[in-house]
């Protein structure tokens, strides 16, 4: 479809050139082609390929965490610091009032421009970011407030200092504690869901995914580089990885897909953000009354079921342990 569009656009350009250089009136033909181009563009926006979605998810003009917080909360208090080493600007954490009730909100913070992106490490957290997020989530548990996590990162930062200060440990600890937090967790993948860096704040009771967001174990470029020694084959890899919201809904990973405005969230940011806010509010309300024990039990069951495994001749996932075994 991409290729069709490119062809039509080339034709239009040709006709325009002829119109001006050869004084021919080709207005009618041009108009028809332009209508066709627009239809193709809409078609792409409606059904982007996996790779196109990756581009949309990474779009520089896509809403940022500040936009979502503004739409979700009537007031917000950003909290800082991991209480041990530093404060990571790549992760935002704080308390916000949602429908008159306090909630914790944590999420990746990509920048709006190059300067902010550099300051925020392009939304790729260091260990301090995960530790700050966990601290604020634990505070929410203590205050009987629910948690909203907003996921939009290419991944945890693969830097030297991140390793020195335990990127693995920070994410592992976050996952372990999020599994145990006795308060509802609603997670939203708003853009890039980049592997462990995304999952590090993504263990939840309800996973929402914005229509063109992606969620993947590895970037398509990284996957292509490993598979074919050729990063330019990323579009193929994107397809193969099944990283779109629709794919992940069929795998039972995503609980709800939040539609985006035509052409993507960046075209109509307010609408896009409002749709996310509405969905989060609705799920928070649904979680609010649930007893803590059943919440934790359901969280266990939710993840216990994820995966595809064949046992003997049956395809199973998340089953209970078998009784016996054999000596080796």
């Amino acid at each position: 479809m991409d290729r069709d569009l490119a062809e039509v656009e080339r034709e239009i350009a040709d006709l325009r050139r002829i119109t001006t250089t050869q004084q021919m009136n080709l207005g009618e033909q041009i108009a028809a082609l332009e209508a066709r181009a627009e239809r193709l563009r809409e078609e792409i926006a409606r059904h982007p390929t996996a790779w196109q979605r990756v581009q949309l998810a990474r779009h520089a003009e896509r809403p940022r965490i500040g936009d979502y917080i503004a739409a979700l909360t009537s007031e917000f208090l950003e909290l800082h610091g991991d209480r041990a080493f530093g404060d990571d600007p790549a992760m935002v954490a704080g308390l916000g009032m949602i429908d008159g009730r306090p909630a914790a909100i944590v999420g990746h913070a990509k920048g709006r421009d190059t300067r902010e992106n550099i300051a925020r490490r392009f939304g790729m957290p260091n260990p301090e970011g995960y530790r700050k997020a966990l601290r604020v989530m634990t505070l929410a548990e203590r205050l009987h407030a629910p948690i909203v996590t907003l996921i939009d990162t290419a991944g945890a930062f693969p830097g030297k200092e991140a390793e020195e200060r335990g990127q693995s440990e920070a994410i592992a600890r976050s996952l372990l504690e999020m599994a145990r937090l006795r308060t509802p967790i609603v997670a939203v993948i708003t853009g890039e869901g980049g592997s462990g860096g995304a999952l590090g704040i993504g263990l939840c009771d309800v996973l929402l995914m914005v229509e063109h967001a992606v969620y993947s174990v590895i970037s398509p470029e990284g996957c292509a580089a490993i598979l074919w020694r050729d990063g330019s084959r990323a579009p193929e890899a994107a397809e193969a990885l099944r990283l779109t919201a629709h794919d992940l809904a069929t795998f039972g990973i995503v609980d709800e897909i939040i539609p985006e405005p035509p052409g993507g969230a960046h075209r109509h940011r307010d609408d896009a953000v409002a749709a996310v806010a509405e969905s989060v509010r609705r799920h928070l309300a649904a979680c609010a009354g649930r007893p803590k024990e059943s919440l934790i039990a359901a969280r266990y069951e939710k993840y216990r079921r994820i995966g595809r495994v064949r046992e003997g001749s049956a395809v199973v996932a998340g089953t209970t342990p078998t009784a016996g075994g054999q000596a080796v």
């Binding site: 490993i226 193969a240 992940l248 990973i253 216990r304 495994v309 046992e311 342990p321």
Partner: protein
Amino acid sequence: MLDWLARPKRAAAARRDIPAGLWVKCPRCANLVYRKELERGLRVCPRCGFHRRLSAADRLALVLDRGSFVETDADLEPEDPLGFVDERTYPERVAEYRRRTGQSEAIITGTGTVEGARAVVGAMEFGFMGGSLGSVVGEKISRSADRALEHRWPLVLFVASGGARMQEGTLSLLQMAKTSVAVARLADAGVALITVLCDPTTGGVAASFAFQGDIIIAEPGALIGFAGPRVIEQTIRQKLPDGFQTAEFLLQHGFLDAVVPRAELRAALARILRLTNAPVDPQMAGAAAQGWGEPADAADEPPPA
């Protein structure tokens, strides 16, 4: 995620230097070692202390009491949920690694005793697709955690993995969460998780159960980290210093309880199990280690590119 499809430099070097002969060249110090001496020494170079990788089966044989191991969930096999194809299909790759390693997947799980102390155990097989965490590994670890909870025996996981398994996509990423919820129930119940980080422990596996241990130990020299060294070097545009991301480095930075030489591993684990309330099987209390028979080099073999 370590690029385990690529030929790891060290393993390649190892293979080149280990033909079928009587003598084996150490990939670190380049000394020639008599193969039988190397095996008797638990595949640790007697000259420089370099710890070669062990297969999962050898690892269990090294640590567990003879005859105590009962394997569980051996018949779990991966599906192909994504219909993943690169140059071969995912099922073809799996079949090839099964032939190559003699294992059905990248982890062996079961129960056993160490100096009589009971435990649920899992040992990852790096030779099987880089020890990657897919649905089967996630399911087997989760079942092991459930089993540990049921018996109130500590769970011991020998980790050796490049991370999540690309061929199962986001499903494999979420095995990190799946194992986390299973392991979290142990934490709540006061049943210990003990992780032994072997070479290598990276990516999504490092960032989940490996570092969720109540007690975390590692083998000398093991590579342990989230990002692979090459990725970090690309990020920072410079070479990493020697010893970066080794077990010793992590101990110094506060992430490991101990670095335990292989010769002391069994005794250390027995002590850890006793100190974390493992019940004792009186019949096994004086048992010897299972030991191993013929050398199995699979773990050192590079997977096919």
